[in-house]
Symmetry: C2
Subunit: 319 residues, 2 copies
């Protein structure tokens, strides 16, 4: 089966979905053609997932399809971009119809949720891996970068932290748990919800933003460096996660909230005057700290004592 | 080493090169930002190369870097797009500085030749593979697709055919040859020259176009299907290739010109009135056939007899 036929057969519903007038030419020619709106810039991000590195050798292809798309779509959210489309470069050891059907169903479902149209791709033979490149539109000058945080801004997150990291022992079969505990954590790992609408709502308000993929502290470090500021995380303000705390206890849960990656929740800095209106519309928003002059990232407890973890304790989460 | 640092260290010169004002934000944030010119569409293509499938396990990383970029850049040429930039998703079993230095040098050199700026990427651990996604600009409505060929048009190619396929026994160490024979063939395989300027010159003239990656007959089949026409290849008009004929003899050379992929030369259909001006500026252009009403691809000899090869004889070149 040729590559276009393979892609068309299994991924047709994603190719039809969404995209709209921004996709001038989709799958089947040498290139796809995007027609951004006048005054819009095109936001682009690319991510590769490799078997045995980013996902287990044995896993449900439906869940993997969801996750593969969500991880990249989250980068559009982090820039405040509106979703347009994506390309899929899929490397497969063999064309297993059952696997492809499941993977495509997961990918297509997440693509529809995210309003992303499949615009092109490549299928090759080799060890299982996939590279997804996503495209979004953002009015010129309004993209949310990592570089605008200013002393006095609040440090905020868009939802719960550490839950995808907490799910890892379940994903790897090292632990089991009651459905009420396991399910919300596994959902966070396998089907992250890219905060696309939230990211667009932050345009013109947030001074810096990213999605948490390396862990809160590591990602705050990216903002601190790019903006030339210090970020203070207030440990007692981190969002509660009943499932995470039930599975691993309060202390480990706290470590994961600070250090575990893969949550794909937005972290951003915000001038305080924008907080009331945003909080009213986005109830999951939490203020978890503040921006100060200086450099680096510190964690303070409720009494203001510095409890910044040694880097070594978190390194295995930070790659 | 973090992924941005890795990419910055080895690929910095490609990140600085070219791109110009179309690249509003390059490597280092959640997304890159492109700012296409008013009235321009963005052409996008993605290709994956996997070790042991698309290139030998043992090969010069400098040559591989050149080839990885050229293969994708050729898709921009095929659409008549002006080069803007590319992303690189690189999967490596280990961060070997000598390998990375060579690969980056080859990639950067080809990127500069092609005026493509590195705008983003991802580095992951795993079996050696690379996905390059390229971006170009094309005035709205002027992209060269596969769908516009009309009966009466000429069928043309932009340069020699079959030479990359002829180089394969040399690449794989199955044959050796004098430098005067080996070098031009190996250069075609390892360092294809994307016909970017030529592709832009074909805008508004060629009625359909693509780059030959699957072999002339298979790729003519793509144009025939997309345009709803028949393509006639006149075997005695195929470009001469002294090196190819010296290495493998006239008969095998002819087979490779018709069936071997990887040349990344443009094939296109052209209303005859555009031929004189184009030929004057592009001496490598050859008329190799014509478009007729009907469907499919046929090969005729100098006397007009049908010598279309059975598909089986070429299948291993057509994937």
């Amino acid at each position: 089966m040729g590559e276009f036929e393979l892609i068309r057969r299994y991924f047709a519903s994603a190719a039809c979905a969404a995209g709209g007038e921004a996709v001038a030419l989709g799958i089947g020619d040498d290139c796809a053609l995007l027609a951004p709106k006048a005054g819009e810039q095109l936001a682009i991000s690319t991510d590769t997932l490799v078997v045995g590195v980013h996902f287990p050798t044995v896993c449900d292809p439906f869940l993997l399809g969801q996750r593969a798309l969500a991880v990249s779509a989250s980068d559009l959210a982090a820039m405040g971009a509106s979703p347009i489309g994506f390309t899929l470069a899929l490397t497969l050891p063999e064309a297993d119809p059952a696997w492809l059907e499941g993977f495509a169903r997961g990918l297509n479902q997440k693509a529809q949720e995210c309003a992303l149209a499949l615009i092109g791709g490549d299928t090759t033979r080799g060890p299982l891996a996939m590279t997804v490149t996503v495209f979004g539109g953002v009015p010129a000058g309004q993209a949310l970068t990592r570089a605008g945080a200013r002393p006095g801004d609040l440090l905020c997150v868009g939802g719960p932290l550490g839950e995808a990291g907490g799910a890892l022992p379940l994903v790897l079969g090292e632990m089991t748990a009651e459905p009420s505990v396991a399910e919300p954590l596994l959902a966070r790992y396998w089907s992250p919800q890219p905060q696309l609408d939230f990211g667009q709502a932050l345009r013109g308000k947030a001074s810096a933003a990213l999605d948490i993929s390396d862990g809160l502290l590591a990602d705050c470090g990216h903002i601190a460096r790019a903006s030339g500021v210090a970020l203070i995380v207030e440990a007692d303000k981190l969002p509660e996660s009943p499932a995470l705390e039930a599975l691993l206890g309060a202390e480990r849960a706290q470590q994961l909230k600070l250090g575990a990656g893969d949550d794909y929740v937005l972290a951003f800095t915000l001038p305080a005057e924008h907080l009331p209106a945003l909080s009213a519309n986005w109830p999951a928003l939490r203020v978890v700290g503040r921006v100060e002059a200086g450099s680096g990232v510190r964690v303070l407890d409720g009494a203001g004592a510095d409890i910044t973890p040694r880097q070594g304790g978190y390194l295995h989460f930070m790659e």
